[in-house]
Amino acid sequence: MSRGVLMFAHNNAEIDYVKIACANALMVKKNLNVPVTLVTDSGSINWAKEIMGENFINSCFENIIEVDRDYTFKNTRNFSDTSFSTKSLQFYNANHWQAYDLSPYDETLFIDVDYLIMSSALNNCWGSNNDVMINHTIYSPGESTLHSKNVDDMSIALYWATVIYFRKSSLAEHLFSIVKHIQENYAYYRDLYYFTSSMFRNDHAFSIAVHMLNGFSNNEPVIKELPIPGMLMSWDTDDIKSINGINDITLYTEKINQKGTYLLSRIKNTDIHVMNKQAVNRHTNRLIELYRDTV
């Protein structure tokens, strides 16, 4: 039974997703000790090879799968770097439904490159009786409760496509097939499920797909949550203060409803989704430097 991590990385004008993926791949190897496969496009990987060297890239990933990038897919997103800077950039996330077919593993942990693996918690997924697991429950460094969100105020439960565990199985195949269908008919599903944002979000597509697979219900879900109490989310209004060492990060966490006022928060041995991509981008060199000697 083969097991591994799958990441997608497609650079835009400012964020080097492949470089972040390299840092996170080293973190995966250190903490989960499984191989990593990267799905990317020729432009992104050629740039990475140019700036970091082919040997280093190959040492991070067991497989690199190059896919064609659909340049007709336009998905503009506001990338915030704290509350004081927001840039409108392209966000290429059109091909996550391909993860099922592209994954070379029997059991796959499909993670976003900015979900930094700083613990072995996700190793509890391997060998699970559940064919698919995806999280609904979250918490953030500045809050003191586990909670969940909805796709919109009047809509269904929001599942985070940040981390998805799946085994090659009919249930997982159905999930990814439905996500593809939702993506192709996104305007229709946006109206049906009452959300307003026109930007394509995999979180929304997977939430709808989970809802459909559960028999159009969020009760007694056939798709369970990951074996973690909740997913730690640092929002794009937060910033990374410092990388203190292996599996040890200090963040500036913006206080709720107090723009520009921060609390310090230290995260040790806990996986974290850092949504401020520019902040991760600024610290990838430090992460690579720290982790490359440990694997």
């Binding site: 190793n123 060998g127 699970s128 460094p141 500045g142 909740g230 806990t270």
Partner: protein, 119 residues
């Protein structure tokens, strides 16, 4: 700003940071007390430990248990499972105690987060 008010706000910040760090330590502990066995996912608790001990004392070696998702899972070696989860429970709670005490006795934001003066 008036000095007394400034001190009060600093204390509020300190309390908020302290509570956040304790909360994160608690959730991390909960995560580490999750144990995968025979395809199931179990939350290690004193209740589970006592129940397994009851089974072992009654010489029951193989038993179906409900995991955290209430999915039935057959455990083929109850004694071994008890040993594994007890070891994990002690390791994790000892680490939690250490972290809890370090945070609890800190009297400033800097000491809670172990930030050096020159940082």
């Amino acid at each position: 700003m008036e000095e007394r008010l400034q001190k009060a706000l600093e204390f509020a910040n300190y309390r908020q940071t302290l509570n956040n760090q304790l909360h994160k330590a608690k959730i991390k502990t909960e995560g580490m007390l999750t144990f995968a066995k025979c395809g199931g996912s179990f939350k290690i608790s004193q209740e589970l430990i006592c129940f397994l001990d009851y089974l072992v004392r009654n010489k029951i070696t193989k038993q179906t248990l409900l995991d955290s998702n209430n999915t039935p899972v057959e455990i083929s070696d109850i004694k071994e499972f008890l040993k594994e989860i007890t070891t994990r429970y002690f390791e994790v709670t000892n680490d939690y105690l250490q972290e809890y005490q370090t945070v609890k006795k800190a009297r400033s934001v800097k000491s809670i987060l172990d930030i050096k003066e020159d940082e």
